[in-house]
């Protein structure tokens, strides 16, 4: 079997809220698969269903060939989860003790548990604070501990729900490197990663699903996603403050637009995707007619951010 995860018309409602609607994805073994979308788009809900913590309202989902509804006990041995916003563990216990405790949920005997924990502590260079209580370590150390906790059962599918949320640049990079190394060690492994950091998705993921308001907009490699805008151009224009966004959108050839207003400096930064370079002159004459002063204009490299803007109609 090639796929580690398959969903078929998977939907989850909470009352009137359609958290997920007809999700169809296939994730291959050996892949780092990204779920990219703004807050509230359903990423965590999808992960909860795949980790057997939540039932779907409709549709099906299979992890390693097992049905999340019926065979959840079989799935649980082979998965683990690390969430960036969680404080899992017991504050009065040390890093080492907490890890050992969590190892015991997976059926290792006591000494096996200690051995695995000690190995991981060494491998991830955590000796220095391994015997400190987890309520006495920094956020970065905690997230590293949490990441290692997710590896205790040597999972085949590792779910990472915003694993670098709120972390500083160095620790984020360290954790991203661990993820890359971990997946390379064994081609049977899979990582499902949610994030709302574009660079993280771009750096790590073999394929990315763009998810918005409970729906998958598209799934593809970073390369192919960028290719969506291969014919279009992206410009960045600085002007004095504007409020004509809707009017600009209706200009022929304007494919997507995002405006950041800096009220204190009275400046608007417009990022715009246009079908061809000539559209920019239409845009400039529109601005002129509206009496808006252009401060600067530059042609930009297409980024994943622009693709997202183009597909979803808003910034991530």
């Amino acid at each position: 079997m090639l796929e580690s995860i398959i969903t078929i018309n998977l939907s989850r409602y909470f009352g009137d809220v359609k958290a997920l609607e007809d999700i169809n994805i296939k994730v291959n073994k050996g892949e780092i698969f990204g779920l990219l979308g703004p807050n509230g788009s359903g990423k965590t809900t999808l992960i909860r269903i795949l980790t057997t913590a939540l039932l779907p309202t409709k549709g099906e989902a299979y992890v390693l060939g097992y049905d999340v509804k019926k065979d959840y006990l079989k799935i649980r041995k082979y998965i683990n989860i690390v969430s960036g916003d969680e404080k899992a563990g017991y504050g009065v216990l040390t890093v080492r003790e907490n890890l050992w405790f969590f190892s015991q949920l997976y059926g290792y005997n006591r000494s096996e548990g200690w051995r695995i924990v000690n190995e991981l502590i060494e491998k991830f260079g955590m000796q220095e604070y391994a015997d400190r209580k987890i309520n006495r370590i920094s956020h970065g150390m905690f997230q590293k501990y949490n990441f290692v906790r997710g590896l205790l059962n040597n999972p085949l599918v590792l779910f990472l729900d915003e694993p670098t949320l709120g972390l500083d640049v160095n620790i984020s990079r360290e954790i991203r490197n661990y993820i890359k190394e971990w997946i390379k060690e064994d081609r049977e492994r899979t990582v499902i990663l949610t994030t709302h950091y574009m660079v993280e998705a771009q750096e790590l993921c073999d394929r990315i699903a763009i998810i918005y308001k409970g729906k998958i907009i598209t799934v593809d490699t970073v390369e192919n996603l960028l290719r969506i805008l291969s014919k279009e151009s992206v410009y960045e224009i600085k002007t004095n403050l504007i409020n004509q966004v809707e009017k600009i959108k209706s200009i022929q050839g304007v494919k997507a637009i995002d405006v950041e207003n800096d009220a204190s400096r009275m400046i608007s930064k417009i990022r715009v995707v246009v079908s061809e370079d000539s559209v920019i002159s239409d845009l400039l004459s529109f601005l002129k007619n509206e009496g808006i002063k252009v401060i600067s204009l530059s042609k930009e490299e297409v980024t994943l951010e622009d693709v997202f803007l183009y597909l979803v109609g808003r910034k991530l």
Binding site: I81, E97, Y106
Partner: protein
């Protein structure tokens, strides 16, 4: 997973949960002294009052046993009761649920760890009162008394598991009910006086309180020199209550896990 493997996993998880609980709680020994010293003050006050009135010698021992058992009730009501709820808020519950470990193992471990910690305290309190006030216990009957003690803890902590599930279901609002249960149960368990003082109807009703039964049983044995055989009804009731409460706790937990998976409440931090 076969039944036997599942059982082994439950026991492993229970051991691990108890181990970390015992280790965590006893890391700071000042807690231990506070936990022993404060009840000791309360018990001493009662015993001194009894003494000044020239009350029968037996009553002193009664108060010592009852007083030493108070902490178990609070431990069950508050610590056991709120543990799973707290685990949910912390994000631990989600990790328990997505692991192969059955939740009952966690609950069992919490109970064993809590009971062990409290027992260390209760026994220290009992020895201290005995030395301070020269109270004589029938030490030949230590084994039957211990049996009653263990059965009491079994029933009491099974009740605690029910509290834990209830707390998990209803959240913080349930703490009002806990406040309501606190003192009255202690009163009706007769921690400082013999149950026989109650009218017979009340005596029958309170016999579903494991704490009341346990205290009564230990007094009969340790102070009134009764044999286990003479108080066999207490033994049977405690076993029955323990099993009933335990089964209810297991069923509630299974139900809650299902409900949570359906409604998404187990992973939601809702109040």
């Amino acid at each position: 997973m076969s039944k036997i493997n599942e059982l082994i996993l439950v026991l492993r998880v229970a051991y691990a949960r108890a181990y970390v609980r015992i280790k965590g709680v006893n890391r700071d020994l000042t807690h231990f002294f506070i936990d022993v010293f404060l009840p000791l003050l309360g018990i001493s006050a009662i015993i001194l009052a009894y003494k000044s009135m020239g009350a029968p010698e037996n009553l002193l021992g009664f108060a010592a046993i009852g007083g030493a058992m108070i902490a178990f009730w609070y431990n069950v009501l508050w610590s056991m009761g709120s543990q799973l709820y707290w685990d949910k808020e912390q994000g631990n519950l989600q990790l328990y649920i997505i692991s192969p470990a059955p939740l009952i193992g966690i609950l069992l471990g919490m109970a064993i760890g809590g009971a062990f910690n409290m027992s260390l305290r209760a026994i220290t309190i009992l020895i201290a009162t005995s030395l301070l006030f020269n109270i004589k216990f029938n030490l030949n009957a230590i084994l039957p008394a211990f049996l009653i003690f263990i059965l009491t803890l079994f029933a009491l902590y099974s009740l605690g598991m029910i509290f834990a599930s209830t707390f998990l279901r209803f959240g913080r609002s349930i703490s009002k009910i806990n406040e309501l249960l606190g003192e009255p149960i202690l009163f009706f368990s007769g921690v400082y006086f013999p149950l026989k003082l109650f009218p017979i109807v009340i005596q029958i009703v309170v016999s579903i309180i494991p704490l009341a039964l346990g205290i009564e049983g230990m007094r009969e044995i340790l102070i009134l020199n009764k044999t286990l055989f003479e108080i066999i009804w207490i033994l049977i009731l405690l076993i029955a209550l323990g099993i009933i409460f335990f089964v209810i706790a297991v069923k509630m937990l299974e139900y809650l896990e299902k409900l949570g998976k359906n409604q998404g409440t187990l992973t939601l931090k809702w109040d």
